[in-house]
């Protein structure tokens, strides 16, 4: 049922995109920065609202339809992670976290809770706009995929991924994934048994150019391993290929037919 309401929500977003500009909520206690970012993003064609505290921001994000939420980690009152948790408990609205630069923990925690991407602060506004576009493209693609009835299913070994409802099950049991984790898994499953380079994963999933020392993909893969189990049929489920990227293990021969079907579908 949740999947259906999500579809509706995404369809509404698609309609909003067609009829009006994207509405973005910025949650940051630095009011002047909010003003500047608002001014800049408006010049780029977005509609901006700002909120300076975590709890009000979370409430507002849940009360209105936003295309995207920009959320600062350091906030008075409840911090950005807590606000993200509140938002994620009810909504899948894309969230871009602003983290303290160099703070790996912030970044990883944010991605684990379900942020779609992060940007270290202080950021280059052009980079911010690029990230926003990338995230919006992905969410529109999701909405389009959701609009396709019936949802395409990819089954590889014990994992079944429903591209339509964006649901994943392992051995028939649902697995809760964040939007980014789902996208990473989808790309990997569509290329089962083939090595996916970090570059192409970043480009396909995060919608931006790969830059060295960027570990977001690794965080997402690490989360996937935790949630799906490190091993499948005595093999490593998602293998790291040194210096290149990742490979989703080809299941044993008795299950390859379905895997191949899924691969062909991609």
């Amino acid at each position: 049922m949740a999947a259906v309401s999500e579809h509706d929500q995404l369809k509404r977003i698609v309609r909003d995109i067609e009829t009006s500009t994207d509405k973005i909520l910025v949650i940051d206690d630095d009011v002047e920065l909010c003003n500047l970012v608002g001014e800049y993003l408006e010049s780029e064609g977005f509609a901006i609202e700002a909120e300076s505290s975590g709890d009000h921001g979370a409430d507002r994000a849940l009360a209105n339809d936003y295309s995207l939420v920009i959320l600062d980690v350091m906030l008075p009152g409840i911090n950005g992670f807590e606000a993200l948790r509140r938002i994620r408990s009810k909504s899948n609205v894309p969230v871009l976290m602003l983290t303290a630069r160099g703070d790996d923990v912030d970044r990883i925690v944010g991605l684990e809770i379900g942020a779609d991407d992060y940007l270290p602060k202080p950021f280059n506004p052009r980079e911010l706009v690029a990230r926003i576009h990338a995230i919006l493209r992905r969410s529109r693609a999701r909405a389009d995929a959701g609009a396709d009835p019936p949802g395409e299913k990819i089954a590889v070994g014990d994992v079944v991924l429903d591209a339509g409802s964006r649901a994943v099950t392992r051995d028939g049991l649902p697995v809760r994934l964040t939007a980014m984790e789902f996208d990473v898994l989808e790309v990997l499953l569509r290329h089962t048994g083939r090595v996916m380079s970090r570059e192409s994963l970043v480009e396909q999933v995060l919608g931006r150019k790969y830059s060295p020392y960027d570990r977001s993909i690794d965080v997402h893969v690490s989360n996937l391993r935790k949630k799906l189990g490190h091993q499948v049929g005595g093999m490593e489920r998602i293998r790291s290929i040194r210096q290149v990227g990742y490979l989703y293990a080809l299941p044993r021969s008795d299950e390859t037919d379905r895997g191949d079907a899924g691969g062909a579908g991609g």
Binding site: L36, S43, R101, G102, P122, N124, Y210, Y213, Q243, V244
Partner: protein, 527 residues
């Protein structure tokens, strides 16, 4: 645990046992010495009394009477005696014991009692006796050991002793001629024991202390052993208590110190030291003060770092956005200076990040959670990124590891340490060359060498380059985007893991940085 406790225990025990033994020994020896000075006049007196009676018997009734008299003495007080005249002829017809003749000769020319100790057997004593009429005799007697060692007169020996002195005086009313005590004499010339191998010259007056101990041991080994055992046991018990009392709070302090070093800033020893009021309790109190101070300092520092980080970066974030707005609203002629502003802002931002990172490391505020880190994979990841970055200048980064290596450490710190060195190497290596990274095991730890093909560094600066803000060539360094802090961060992070970093110039040009890590993090750095 073993060390201090063991040392205190052993040393004090040894000291107390030595003191106790010395005390026992000196008691035994002085007691015996005193006894000698006590019994000597008494024996002399007894000998004189008994001797006078025997002389009386001899002079009155002749040889048979003397023999009878001496036999009576022997029966009554278990003392064999002989009487010799001034020609040293035995008068009763009894056979003299071994050495009796010589002793009598000595006694004849001495005013004092002469004593000879015979191994295991009876002691011979002899004294010159001059009758009131002026005739000189020598009285020779065997006396029992206990009497001789009169330190502990008791039992049978005690009775004999009394009988020896009193019985005869009571029996014979005659006036006794005591040995001439007033006459000066060198010393008694008692030739002493053959057994102890003592020097036994005629001048030997008093034997050394240990001789008495030795004799006492022969005489009553059980008692001496008992005394010494008592000394050892008592000392041991007292020392056990003392050592425990002294070391227990030290152990608690050590434990607390370890926990403090391991990051448990809330640890205090106050309650554990208890009601003591001594220096150790004060030390514990001082430790608590120190721990409280460190805790407050570190808390303040963490807060400060976080605040500074936030406060310095907020204006930078605004500056960046304002800059982007300025770009939108200005013509192409402003592009160059705006680019410059952007680059400088970026540089400032990188610098702030580095300073904060280094400050976190130096203050120990960086939470160094130790988890197993696959060092090979970590370096491989960095090498892959560096290789990607190096392609821009036609360079390559290669990594080779002889074998996989896992160690306990903080992954972010190690990543930062290796990334700084490797990116530094990429920055300086000549266009079209490669950076070679090798990992190998050495001395139980691991050594990672990063080698570039750049200009190298003058030998005298090889150590300085790990100092914060040390710049080898200002203009070039800034141009290449360095902050002057990367290698300082590397060294600090590696040292936090118990390792070290060294740099050297390769023989054929280029710099080799060697990072050494021990197999385990330093002991006692518990999380």
């Amino acid at each position: 645990m073993r060390n201090l406790y063991f040392k205190i225990f052993i040393w004090f025990w040894l000291a107390m046992a030595l003191v106790g033994t010395a005390f026992v020994v000196s008691t035994v020896s002085t007691q015996t010495g005193e006894a000698e000075s006590r019994w000597r006049p008494l024996v002399a007196q007894g000998l004189a009394i008994n001797g006078q009676a025997a002389i009386d018997a001899y002079e009155r009734d002749g040889r048979e009477a003397l023999a009878a008299h001496l036999e009576r003495i022997e029966r009554r007080i278990d003392m064999r005696a002989w009487l010799l005249d001034d020609q040293l002829q035995e008068l009763s017809g009894r056979e003299l014991p071994d050495g009796g003749q010589e002793l009598a000769r000595e006694a004849a020319s001495s005013v004092e009692l002469v004593v000879r100790v015979i191994e295991q057997g009876p002691r011979l004593v002899a004294s010159r006796i001059i009758t009131p009429e002026g005739r000189q005799y020598v009285m020779l007697a065997e006396i029992v050991r206990a009497l001789y060692w009169g330190g502990r007169p008791r039992d049978r020996a005690d009775n004999r002793y009394r009988g020896f002195v009193e019985g005869q005086t009571a029996g014979q009313g005659d006036e006794a001629a005591l040995p001439d005590a007033g006459a000066a004499s060198a010393a008694d010339r008692g030739g002493l024991d053959r057994r102890g191998g003592l020097p036994r010259g005629p001048r030997e007056a008093r034997p050394p202390a240990w001789y008495w101990v030795w004799l006492s041991l022969i005489d009553d080994p059980g008692e001496l052993a008992f005394r010494l055992l008592a000394v050892f046991l008592t000392a041991g018990l007292v020392c056990y208590g003392l050592a425990r009392y002294l070391t227990a709070p030290v152990l608690r302090l050590r434990d607390a110190t370890n926990r403090l070093a391991g990051g448990d800033l809330a640890v205090r020893v106050g309650p554990a030291v208890g009601n003591r009021k001594d220096e150790l309790a004060q030390l514990g109190h001082d430790f608590d003060l120190m721990a409280a101070r460190i805790e407050s300092l570190l808390t303040t520092q963490r807060q400060l770092l976080s605040d500074v980080s936030h406060e310095l970066r907020s204006p930078l974030a605004r500056l960046n956005v304002a800059l982007a707005l300025a770009r939108q609203r200005s013509g192409p002629e402003a592009a160059a200076p705006l680019d410059r502003i952007e680059a400088e802002a970026e540089q400032l931002n990188a610098l702030i990040g580095r300073v904060l990172e280094l400050a976190r490391l130096e203050s120990g505020a960086a939470e160094a959670e130790r988890i197993p880190v696959d060092l090979g994979r970590l370096i491989d990841d960095i090498a892959a990124d560096a290789d990607f970055e190096a392609r821009a200048k036609d360079c390559t980064v290669t990594f080779s590891a002889a074998e996989p290596c896992r160690l306990l450490g903080s992954e972010p710190l190690l990543r930062s340490a290796f990334e700084n060195v490797i990116r530094n190497a990429v920055r300086y290596t000549a266009r079209g060359t490669g950076v070679d990274i090798e990992m190998a095991r050495a001395d139980g730890g691991v050594v990672v060498t990063v080698r570039d093909h750049g200009p190298g560094v003058a030998d005298e600066h090889l150590d300085d380059m790990f100092e914060p803000f040390y710049r080898l060539a200002d203009a070039r360094d800034r141009e290449s985007g360095g902050t002057g802090l990367g290698l300082a961060i590397t060294r600090r992070a590696i040292r936090l893991h118990g390792g070290d970093v060294k740099a050297a110039n390769a023989a054929d040009g280029g710099l080799i940085v060697e990072l050494r890590l021990p197999p385990e993090p330093p002991a006692d750095r518990r999380p």
